[in-house]
Amino acid sequence: MRVWCVKYRVSLCNASKSAAARWRLNHMKLTEISGNLNEWLSDSGPMSDVVLSSRIRLARNLAGYNFLGGCTDGERSEILKRLKDVLLGLDLGDRMFYISVHRAPKLDRNFLVERHLISRHHAFGKGPRGAVVAQREFFTGMINEEDHLRMQVIRSGCQLRRCAEQIDRIDDMVESKVDYAFDARLGYLTACPTNLGTAIRVSVMLHMPALKMAGQIERFFNACRDMNLAVRGLFGEGSEAAGDFYQISNQVSLGVAEADIVSRFEDQVIPEIVEYETAARHFLLADRVNVLDDKISRALALLKNAQLISSHEALFLLSHLRLGVNMLRHMGAESPAIRRLSSLRGAGGDSEGLSISMINKLFLLTLPAHLQINRGEQLDSAHRDALRAEIIRSTLSS
């Protein structure tokens, strides 16, 4: 059994039954979630053929304390305890779990990063720190990351307004229990001046393989640059070849209201970028169907036959399958390779062929820490590559 906090486990021996029950209620075994797709990857939101997920993150610091860089470990622990209690007490209509990040093994921390529950900075930072997570994984509160509190809400597809409403409500609930460091002129005060003001980071994860295939990905980069947006890779891939997943987010948080940032994203930024990708998909279908078919067929052949496959390659190839399935579903595309995809039956006996959620599941469950947690043991790179290939083969051939 994987237990988060050894100190708590020891103290349990002498604890009362109610304390033990409370502990179980607020602590989670990773294996409870490691075999499932998280809700925001379920392919259920609007525009989910291009927009994987929407996320809004708020940074907050408690009044009366220094920022983390100026805090002693004792103060960090005090902040951790205080915010942990507040977050665990939130009524979000879901079970809330606490994860003691600084005590968790490295593998578990990698797992949480892979699931986008905590940031890499949080996972490998220093000092007492933790995270409170909603079981359905739509909410995480990272305590003692770069600021005292970083709260995030993630939803599937393009749902930024809903994310904004939800995080605003959660922020109100937290704020009713603690005082935030706030300045009338500068807004919410953050350890780094780039987050000052609303301290909001709005981001969407995008899947844009057609732009790349059509040789038009520069249009996307230029549009992001013109709109003053930051662009990052999705599952950590630095190059554009890595799965064609990108995360874009706002850079300005001072001088613009939260609602304006969100509506600019939903009404201007996302439609423009989705339009580019959709146009590229139509272009491929009309003028470059052989390129499209080649990519999809190669991806399918490799995934169905490979004996060893790295997570980087798997992401890259699965991305092409995802494109094919989305083109079939959303555009009614017909080509030999796409027809082959539709004739595949999913592992779950899905009569409509390979589904997007199944591909998303393969993306997630074949990441290194997921493989190891689900297997219940540490695996070296070669064993991970073999296991990954096996999982993909069995899913695609069943």
Partner: protein, 193 residues
């Protein structure tokens, strides 16, 4: 801390994707040894071509690349701060307020880490920080948006006044005097209210 955009290094431009990937990168392998995690990401942009290289620190050293692998936005900011013009007023201010009276942080600490020590630093180092804040936020210098409801009415009023003054400035600059008059009246009303 997450890097937000591309920036120049002595060895070329590090693009935003690469700058980001050290941060988000979970398992990306070195292109040379194919074993270690790639933590050094270089992008070379010639006239038309763009080439990227992702290598581990060991291989980077062997290849004579001594670029810092983990350049964060904090460091970028610190660089910007260091590159600010040596204005006499700013320097005078810095000498006067070498350390924050509350947390003891100095601007040197900020240059090193890119992070401040406590909320009071924003006031203690205001002259040095504000040009940086303005640059990072595309000209934004005052907050508009959510205000904590638990905050005293005074602070809420102060925030409203800041924003009205900012709008007034904009209206005057844009020679929209009708709007300016309305804003001026509103400011006076708020002050006397």
């Amino acid at each position: 801390m997450q890097p937000e955009r591309g920036f120049e290094t002595a060895y070329g431009l590090i693009c935003s994707f690469c700058a980001a990937c050290w941060y988000n990168n979970i398992y990306m392998r070195c292109q040379i040894c194919q074993q270690n995690e790639a933590t050094v990401h270089l992008t070379d942009i010639s006239e038309k071509h763009r080439t990227e290289m992702h290598v581990c620190e060991l291989c980077a050293q062997q290849q004579g690349l001594t670029v810092k692998s983990h350049i964060s936005l904090n460091e970028l900011l610190s660089g910007l701060l260091a590159a600010q013009p040596a204005d006499d007023d700013v320097l005078g201010e810095l000498k006067e307020e070498a350390a924050c009276p509350r947390c003891g942080f100095t601007l040197e600490d900020f240059r090193r880490t890119g992070l401040l020590g406590c909320p009071a630093d924003y006031r203690a180092f205001e002259k040095a920080l504000m040009p940086l804040v303005e640059k990072a936020h595309d000209g934004g210098t005052s907050h508009c948006g959510k205000v904590p409801s638990r905050l005293r009415t005074g602070a809420r009023k102060e925030n409203r006044l800041w924003n009205l003054r900012r709008l007034l400035d904009e209206a005057v600059r844009g020679e929209d005097y009708e709007k300016a008059a309305v804003l001026r009246d509103e400011i006076q009303k708020l002050r006397s209210g």
